[in-house]
């Protein structure tokens, strides 16, 4: 397979990996905190008939490691949106941090996300439901290499209030063409995800079942 497609997101170059061709609408894989895109289609996504793509978030894999940190989940939602701008409507499968970003993206772009599957993975919990004890992270990476130490520090501490997460569920449910635009396969349930699971329009099933549910939802 050739190298990734590089997408511009403001001042960051994002690596979008084309893992496989296929018939139907694309599947976009979002990795967990500190991970990078897989080099081939993982077994748990192998049943997907359409093309499969995977995005390296800012500070990860082959994407830019920017100077000075400043990571937010919302900025990574912008990463995912850059991939959607390139791919068009897609189903998203996110692991850990990528699951949280998949939820935000499904709420922000209900017209472009053909279902989001939220799976277990690193960085699922973030910093909990409310701010912990205050702390200023000081890092001075001489030669920053992925994963960026700033992203590891900042997106393991970002606050994820349950009602904030549920607001994105409502937006997805209210404006998506799908009856159940969110599937939760994760068995770990931090507060935000527990609230998501209890919301109308959210289904609990395995990752493979979730992908099967969304396989026929292309335009």
């Amino acid at each position: 397979m050739s190298g990734p497609t590089m997408l511009r997101h403001v001042r960051v170059e994002l690596a979008l990996h084309h893992l496989r061709d296929g018939d139907g609408h694309p599947l976009l894989l979002l990795h967990g905190l500190g991970e990078r895109s897989p080099s081939s289609v993982p077994s748990w996504a192998s049943a997907w008939a359409g093309p499969v793509h995977a995005l390296d978030f800012t500070g990860h894999g082959q994407s830019t490691v920017p100077a000075g940190g400043g990571y937010t989940a919302e900025a990574l939602m912008g990463d995912a949106d850059a991939a959607l701008a390139h791919l068009g409507p897609a189903t998203i499968l996110g692991r850990g941090l990528g699951a949280y970003i998949a939820l935000l993206t499904a709420g922000a772009r209900p017209d472009l996300v053909r279902g989001a599957v939220l799976a277990d993975g690193p960085g699922l919990a973030g910093g909990g439901s409310s701010p912990g004890s205050p702390y200023v992270i000081r890092l001075d990476p001489a030669t920053p290499s992925p994963p960026d130490p700033f992203v590891m520090a900042e997106l393991s501490r970002d606050v994820r209030p349950p009602d904030y997460a549920v607001a994105f569920v409502f937006q997805a449910v209210n404006r998506s063409e799908l009856a159940d635009p969110i599937v939760v396969s994760a068995t770990t349930r931090p507060d935000w995800l527990r609230a998501v699971v209890e919301s109308p329009g959210v289904r609990r099933m395995s990752t493979a079942e979730g992908l099967a549910l969304y396989a026929g939802t292309g335009a």
Partner: protein, 324 residues
């Protein structure tokens, strides 16, 4: 922060209407405003932060932090008054603002980290820190996270308020948030090529009057002269064109209120009681229950949000009285 009014087109009938091209290229002076005595940059994790200092280098320092969409030179009248009172006033441009580097990423925590980098460049002893508006909130978080670095907290119209807009129905709030997020993403899709609109200094000043309706045209034109750069096609505000007002995120006003209650160092807060768009809407009554024990709150009756610009002498006198 509340959203400012949309930037409306400027008509020629606004402002003085006496623009002369040659004059337009000369950054104007302003009574009492003085360039910094020293300029330097501080590295914060690879981002160059511009520092502006007024006063003797050996004098007791105070850190000055500007508000959102402002820059250090908005202290050009206020800081020299502190310097005249015997302080070393150290102001800094937040990343993407003024003469600091435009950054790949922006966050509240990154701003606080940049502030600590500036503090480190001054020394390791605790010093007074002052913040206006968003800068006041940043310094509140800094004081909470690094109590060993802050000896006195001064807050100019930047105490946390209740911004939950209780008069808006849930349905309406949800619609506003949806639009806000979509617009934010749409803007980021275009932001790689963004640049600010060029104009004459007077045009930039008139545009800024939307954010600063109580401030004089002469002041805003002075600000344009120090906050904008001269490009071949005109003047442009230096602020990163990818930054925008407003925003959304997992944030609650009461989190900051609890930070306020937890402070152990003395606090001087000044609020301007004339409500305006950029203001926080905080009154002595709304904040009283959250003030820490060692707090003094002063209200300026006929003053808006930019109280150090409207009443620099009065604000500086209160700060000097508290610190010296």
């Amino acid at each position: 922060m509340r959203r400012p009014p949309s930037l409306r087109p400027v008509s020629d009938s606004e402002g003085t209407g006496t623009d002369v091209t040659a004059e337009e290229d000369v950054p104007p002076d302003y009574p009492g405003a003085r360039p910094p005595d020293r300029l330097r940059t501080v590295d914060s994790g690879g981002i160059a932060i511009q520092v502006h200092e007024w006063g003797e280098e050996a004098a007791p320092p105070i850190l000055l932090t500007h508000g959102g969409f402002d820059f250090a030179r908005t202290f050009s009248v206020f800081a020299p008054l502190l310097a005249a009172g015997g302080l070393r006033a150290v102001a800094w441009d937040q990343r993407g603002h003024g003469d600091s580097q435009h950054a790949p990423l922006y966050s509240w925590d990154a701003d606080v980290r940049d502030a600590v980098a500036v503090l480190d460049s001054i020394g390791s002893d605790p010093i007074p820190v002052l913040g206006h508006s968003k800068g006041g909130n940043l310094m509140l978080q800094l004081a909470d996270a690094c109590p060993h670095r802050v000896s006195y907290l001064v807050n100019f119209d930047g105490l946390p308020g209740n911004w939950a807009a209780p008069d808006v129905s849930d349905h309406e709030r949800s619609r506003m948030r949806e639009e806000e997020i979509r617009n934010w993403l749409d803007r980021r899709r275009r932001a790689a090529d963004a640049s600010r609109r060029p104009g004459t200094l007077s045009e930039l000043a008139r545009r800024r009057a939307d954010m600063n309706p109580r401030l004089s045209f002469e002041w805003l034109r002075y600000l344009a002269g120090v906050g904008a750069r001269r490009d071949p096609d005109g003047w442009r505000w230096k602020i990163d064109p990818t930054l925008r007002m407003g925003g959304f995120g997992p944030w609650r006003p009461d989190w900051a209120l609890h930070r306020l209650s937890a402070l152990g160092m003395p606090l001087l807060g000044i609020v301007g009681l004339q409500a305006e768009q950029m203001g926080m809407g905080v009154t002595p009554e709304s904040i009283a229950a959250y003030l820490p024990p060692a707090a003094r709150l002063v209200a300026f009756e006929d003053t808006g949000h930019f109280l150090h610009i409207e009443q620099p002498e009065r604000a500086a006198a209160l700060v000097l009285e508290a610190l010296t």
